[in-house]
């Protein structure tokens, strides 16, 4: 009975959606409105205006820098909220490790340890070359965060946590918003606008984009790993 009701509801939701999809411009056409207005300008003049060969990076950090500024604030706020919601939980890894019911696999442990430096190098590469090739701060940060998580699962949490020392971890968590604040202030000095970039692919623009990418990458990796560790803490 309940299942039938749900299916009827889904059918009611599906019909207007499918009708709208049928009325959309054809998939993959170059004449659709989404492609002919602002996207055209970004593609034609993006490199000289935004200073990044990867137009997606140019859009994220330069044209729509405010948007990304809000975004890094959102992810930092999420990290703070997770830590606040689970306040009072404690890391009891040390006692639990002895009595862990999950059998450790030597192969997995060895392979993770073997691959760890290469994954870290790849994360760094993705961050640093985000302007000229596919990649960027978020992507590289996620790769490094995933490395921390896989090390926590396969090797040990203490070893993974040693990569982000507790003393400087709050600064790493807020690295994204801080880098935006720094670059935004530099923009005020250089152009008179918050997050304003000098026109063209100058050295200053490159440096500002690099600082943003790096801040986003460090902040993203730390936030993801911190959330994962916090969720794993015991009451």
């Amino acid at each position: 009975m309940k299942r039938a009701l749900v299916i009827v509801l889904l059918a009611i939701v599906a019909m207007p959606l499918l009708a709208a999809m049928a009325a959309m411009p054809r998939f993959g056409s170059a004449e659709q409105p989404a492609y002919t207005h602002v996207a055209k300008r970004y593609l034609e003049r993006g490199v000289e205006e935004a200073g990044a060969e990867n137009v997606v990076t140019g859009v994220i950090l330069n044209y729509r820098g405010f948007d990304t500024n809000g975004e890094v604030t959102v992810i930092f706020t999420a990290c703070a909220a997770v830590i606040a919601v689970l306040a009072g939980s404690r890391n009891r890894q040390d006692q639990r490790e002895a009595a862990s019911s999950v059998p450790e696999s030597l192969v997995v442990r060895y392979v993770v340890r073997l691959l760890a430096p290469f994954i870290a190098l790849f994360a760094l590469y993705v961050v640093l070359f985000g302007e000229v090739s596919p990649g960027g701060g978020f992507q590289g940060g996620t790769v490094f965060g995933a490395l921390l998580i896989v090390m926590t699962v396969a090797v040990s949490r203490n070893q993974a946590e040693r990569l982000l020392p507790l003393r400087i971890r709050p600064w790493l968590q807020i690295a994204g918003p801080l880098s935006f604040l720094a670059v935004g202030t530099a923009g005020v000095v250089l152009t008179g606008w918050y997050l304003g970039f000098p026109q063209g692919a100058t050295a200053a623009t490159r440096l500002m984009l690099m600082v943003l990418e790096f801040g986003i990458g460090v902040g993203g990796a730390t936030v993801i790993a911190s959330i994962f560790w916090r969720l794993g803490d015991e009451a």
Partner: protein
């Protein structure tokens, strides 16, 4: 209409994915499964918007020497990158709230939680 829908097959698939997510949110009893449904719905929207930017025969919008137009629309990709990060943030917060519910009530089944009231 079916013919046009067949041309816009990628969009129709994202509708299907959206419905699967909606089904999980409505019909599943476990809170984690409900949020997995929400994540599936988010993914369907992401897939739809990224598909909007596709241009047939287009290449990635990276202006290295030798790159030739047409290029794929960079705006949907940039917007969805933002969207994915927000989705991760909401998922993390939701999971931490579920952990809290588990600690307080000892269950994360929606009907059992309703009985506890």
């Amino acid at each position: 209409m079916i013919g046009i829908l067949w041309d816009n097959f990628d969009y129709a698939v994202s509708v299907l994915l959206f419905l699967i997510g909606l089904y999980c949110v409505i019909a599943k009893n476990n809170l984690i499964k409900k949020f997995m449904g929400l994540n599936i719905m988010e993914t369907s929207v992401f897939a739809f918007i990224v598909a909007l930017g596709v241009v047939k025969g287009g290449s990635a919008p990276i202006m290295e020497p030798g790159a030739r137009p047409p290029f794929i629309n960079p705006i949907p990709q940039a917007l969805i990158l933002t969207g994915i990060v927000v989705a991760v943030s909401t998922t993390a917060l939701a999971l931490s709230l579920i952990v809290r519910v588990w600690r307080q009530c000892g269950t994360i089944e929606a009907d059992e939680l309703r009985e506890l009231e």
